[in-house]
Amino acid sequence: MNINLTLFGQMVTFAFFVWFCMKFVWPVIIEAMEERQKKIADGLDAADRALRDLELAQNKATDQMKEAKQEAAGIIDQANKRANQIIDEAKQQAIAEGDRLKVAAQADIEQEMNRAKEELRATVAGLALAGAEKVLEASIDDKANRALVDKLAAQL
């Protein structure tokens, strides 16, 4: 319980340890802690920002989906319309083609008919002439009567 040199000894060691702590311990630890604090704060900020970005992106995506759907619906509509149109056109064309074929066929038929008629006429004229020849038994001037018989055959 005596006050002695220990007092000064303790003062000196005290000063030394405070110096040591001040120089080698405190700043290092505090700096690291503050830096980490900043890092964590930055990280949290970044996370917040990312969350906001994500929300924006999601909204954008939803909008785009909506748009795309609308577009798709429009395209389908258009396609349907076009298809109907094509079908209609095809129908029309088919009808027209059919008509045309029909007309052509009719024309062919008529032609054939006319030719047949011509042939028939010629044959009939020949037959009539032969008949008349037989009937008259006489040698009628073929050339003179041909025109007459042709006129007759044209009336058939």
């Binding site: 002695n4 220990t6 303790q10 005290f14 030394f16 405070v18 001040m22 290092v28 630890i29 802690m33």
Partner: protein, 340 residues
């Protein structure tokens, strides 16, 4: 170990309260003091070797621990000792920021050093009072006080260090304002200057003294209670199996240290088995009690329990005292920085 008669009890207590002193004795010259009487005769030219050694050792422990943590300090995820150190640093930083409003790079490290160092010194109080002194007695060192903060030299030394800082910053920051503070308060009239000076000086000096003596008083009283519990229950030989335990029956007064070692190993073994899950906790406590009772007798067991109880309570005291010393230092330095 304490005997039964009051004289040896007094001796035991006195022995526990005597430092290992190295100094200049007027008759014998430089050397270790043999007893309190010689130590007192040495006067100022002496040093408490044990207090200094423990306090320097603990200071080095503090520096080493915190330096090791500082070296490992990263901005990444902290772990292990760094976590623990950062917890303390943050706690100190908060306390300093709360009560110190100036800008001084020294206050926070100072507070950290004070808090941890004093805490470590106080912590020595929780070691069994007889353990290290007895071991050192076996090694030939006669006196040993292992709690540096029960030495007024240590506490007042730190308080004086703080006082010097207070004066330094008062003069540096306030300049002549410091003189005005000492002379023109509380009565702002030139006629009261002597009275003011007297009152303010007493107030100023009271700060370091209360700072040092508070810590010293608390730790000294705590140590004293440990010693008293030890004297109360460490009954001597001849008191039978109940009082003195097995060792007194076998060895009489001269119990071999090996005996205590055997008891210690037995208790440690039981605890280890419990930790490995081999025996139940209830059985562990019972077995430990039986071993302790066999070794030291029932009263020793009761003494052990009381020591343990006081130690648990003392954990609060040592932390609180370290904290108070730190906070008051910061407050005093803050006052030194406040320019009116």
């Amino acid at each position: 170990m304490a005997g039964e008669n009051p004289a040896s009890t007094t001796e035991y207590i006195q022995h526990h309260l005597t430092n290992l002193v190295y100094g200049n004795h007027p008759d014998n010259g430089w050397g270790f003091a043999h007893g309190a009487q010689e130590a007192a005769e040495m006067g100022f030219m002496a040093i408490h070797v044990d207090s200094m050694a423990w306090s320097v050792g603990l200071g080095i422990l503090f520096c080493w621990l915190f330096r090791a943590a500082a070296k490992r300090a990263t901005t990444g995820v902290p772990s292990g000792v760094l976590n623990f150190v950062e917890l303390i640093v943050e706690f100190i930083d908060g306390a300093v920021k709360d009560s110190f409003h100036g800008s001084n790079k020294m206050v926070a490290p100072l507070a950290l050093t004070i808090f941890v160092w004093i805490f470590l010194m106080n912590l020595m109080d929780l070691l069994p009072v007889d353990l290290i002194p007895e071991l050192l007695m076996l090694a030939g060192v006669n006196y040993q006080k292992i709690v540096p903060s029960t030495d007024p030299n240590i506490t007042l030394g730190m308080a004086l260090g703080v006082f010097i800082l207070m004066l330094y910053y008062s003069i540096k920051i306030k300049g002549t304002g410091f003189v005005a503070e000492l002379t023109m308060h509380p009565f702002n009239h030139w006629g009261f200057i002597p009275i003011n000076l007297f009152m303010e000086t007493v107030g100023l000096l009271a700060k370091p003294f209360s700072l040092g003596l508070r810590l010293f008083g608390n730790m000294y009283a705590g140590e004293m209670i440990f010693i008293l519990i030890a004297t109360m229950f460490a009954a001597g030989a001849g008191a039978g199996l109940i009082g003195g335990g097995l060792h007194a029956q076998i060895f009489g007064d001269n119990t071999s240290a090996w005996f205590w070692l055997v008891i210690f190993i037995l208790v440690c073994g039981v605890c280890t088995l419990n930790l490995k899950g081999k025996i139940s906790t209830g059985k562990t406590v019972l077995l430990c009690m039986v071993f302790m009772a066999l070794g030291g007798g029932l009263t020793a067991l009761a003494g052990g329990l009381m020591q343990w109880g006081w130690a648990v309570f003392h954990i609060l005291v040592i932390t609180l005292q370290a904290f108070i010393f730190m906070v008051l230092t910061v407050v005093y330095l803050s006052m030194a920085h406040e320019d009116h």
